[in-house]
């Protein structure tokens, strides 16, 4: 398997793996935030703010994979 075909196989799989990871992370964040809001509805605004920040941090990992895919996409066709 040469470099190009290895890249062609690896890039989509890598994005999928990253998406699985951050999907699990986002699920956990949402779960925790919803439970917290359910227990303490008056703190909704603060919990939502923290949830959005942490969700952005978790989501960023998929975005990094996505950016890497676009940076390396040109080398697949090679």
């Amino acid at each position: 398997m040469d470099f190009h075909s290895a890249l062609g196989w690896g890039l989509p799989v890598g994005i999928g793996l990253a998406a699985i990871g951050s999907g699990i992370g986002l699920g956990g964040i949402g779960n925790g935030a919803m439970q917290a809001i359910g227990r303490q509805p008056e703190a909704t605004a603060k919990i939502q703010l923290a949830m959005i920040i942490i969700a952005a941090l978790a989501e960023a990992l998929t975005i990094y994979a996505f950016v890497t895919m676009f940076l390396l996409k040109g080398s697949i066709a090679g």
């Binding site: 959005i52 960023a60 975005i63 676009f70």
Partner: protein, 462 residues
């Protein structure tokens, strides 16, 4: 009544001329589209000046001095207009100019027919139920399909198949994906093959210009610096809005002042809530401007024929570098050099803390350097990915409708436009909130010492 009809005719002709020019520029040649639009514009200006002249000559105050002045100005404008028309005829193809020139007259004729037909009894009977109209539309669409199929078949030969009808204007192989007729999102997709940048995006004004004048140096310059031009334009727009809103502040604000005050007040409360009352108000202008600017840049790409500057890594890296430098400056100013090094070393106050300094110092330094990278990549990736999603679904909609050989497509990207609105706002918010928190981490915390002591005490207790 008559003048109102004329105003409506002007508006409709401008729209019709613009859309016809865009379609012709995309499918035939950019120059041809320009000619059609120039013809329409010339004809419209001609109509406006004639209307002014007639109003000035026949109005109630026709014998007074200002009316005479207006009439003379209109006549002078007409003369200038004829010189401009002569110049246009020298440079652009005459048939297309004449076609554009005829558009306002066609609109006037159609409007007049509509005025005659709409109140008639036959029309009312026709529109009592929707079905006759549906039948007519279906028959017209089928007829247009048949005619255009025969036309494109005669032009490109039956063997080449559906690809032949949609070749790029320059004759290259890259398929030009055009806009759905409803026009939600601008124009054709730029060629991927000709540019050195890999992925395709929606064409914006400057890429269209660069394609229209491939040899002109200024067009290439504009295309090369399009990101900077767009971001400067947005900054200028925001400046003008802010100046207009605050030029003449009233106790009972007008709509613009009210809107701007709402935005400023919300941002101020939000940021002071995070930063605290002591340091908050000082950094609200910077962070609030950052939010508004990034939001405007993100949303700018959803306007047809415009581009989000934040879908380029250059802009997001610049923004993140500004935040990075400013937060380091805050650290130096508020903590001093010794305090900054102390902060980077993890505020060692006990033996365990000093023992951990060789570990904590590099970790903190690398964390500081990772912050701008992650800020820039997150914003770029989200906005760029959103653009790519829209492009992918727009081209899918055109591929689906490819069998008709018409310059139409299903607006499949429509649901994702709303998703794009959401991500644009959310990413602007996330960028601002993370910058705020980086600032907050650099500021001296009042409760830091108490917390540290509390920790040591609890450790002692254990």
């Amino acid at each position: 009544m008559g003048l109102e009809l004329l105003a409506r005719v002007r508006r409709t002709s401008l729209w019709v001329g613009g859309i016809a020019a865009l379609i012709i520029a995309t499918y035939a040649a950019p120059r041809a589209g320009l000619s059609v639009f120039a013809g329409t514009a010339w004809s419209l200006v001609n109509l406006i000046l004639l209307e002014r002249l007639i109003v000035a000559l026949t109005g109630l105050d026709r014998r007074t001095f200002p009316a005479t002045g207006r009439a003379i100005a209109a006549i002078g404008g007409l003369l200038l207009l004829f010189v401009a028309g002569w110049l246009l005829l020298q440079r652009l193809p005459a048939t297309l100019l004449m076609a554009g020139f005829g558009i306002p007259f066609a609109v006037i004729v159609l409007k007049a027919i509509a005025l005659l037909v709409l109140p008639s009894r036959a029309w009312r009977r026709f529109t009592r139920t929707p079905w006759p109209a549906v039948a007519v539309v279906v028959i017209l669409a089928a007829g247009a399909w048949a005619v255009s199929n025969g036309w494109s078949g005669a032009r490109s030969g039956p063997a080449t198949g559906p690809v032949a009808a949609r070749q790029a204007p320059g004759g290259s192989e890259a398929p030009v994906a055009s806009e759905p007729a409803a026009g939600e999102h601008g124009g054709a997709v730029a060629h991927g093959g000709e540019e050195e940048k890999g992925p395709e995006k929606f064409a914006n004004v400057l890429t269209v210009l660069a394609r229209a004048f491939p040899d002109a140096g200024w067009a290439r310059w504009l295309h090369h610096y399009e990101v900077i031009i767009f971001s400067l334009f947005i900054a200028l727009m925001l400046c003008v809005i802010a100046m207009l809103a605050t030029r003449n502040p009233q106790m009972v604000p007008g709509p613009l002042q009210n809107g701007v005050e709402l935005v400023v007040q919300t941002l101020h409360d939000f940021l002071v809530d995070i930063l605290g009352n002591k340091y908050g108000p000082r950094y609200v202008p910077f962070l609030g401007t950052l939010f508004v600017y990034i939001l405007a840049m993100n949303l700018f790409g959803l306007i047809p024929f415009m581009d989000s500057p934040t879908s380029s890594l250059n802009v997001t890296v610049a923004l993140a570098l500004v935040v990075f430098i400013y937060s380091q400056y805050i650290g130096f100013r508020e903590l001093g050099l010794v305090g900054w090094v102390d902060h980077m070393a993890g505020n060692p106050r006990s033996a365990i803390g000093w023992a951990l300094v060789p570990l904590m110092l590099p970790i903190h330094l690398m964390g500081e350097l990772a912050k701008p990278i992650s800020l820039a990549c997150r914003l770029f990736g989200n906005i760029f990915g959103e653009d790519m999603l829209l492009v992918a679904f727009a081209s899918l909609g055109i591929t689906v409708m490819g069998f008709t050989h018409l310059p139409l497509g299903l607006p499949l990207q429509l649901p994702f436009l709303f998703l794009a609105l959401l991500t644009s706002t959310l990413q602007a918010l996330v960028f601002t909130v993370l910058s705020t928190i980086y600032f907050l981490l650099m500021l001296p915390h009042d409760d830091h010492g108490d917390e540290a002591e509390g920790h040591t005490q609890s450790q002692h207790a254990h």
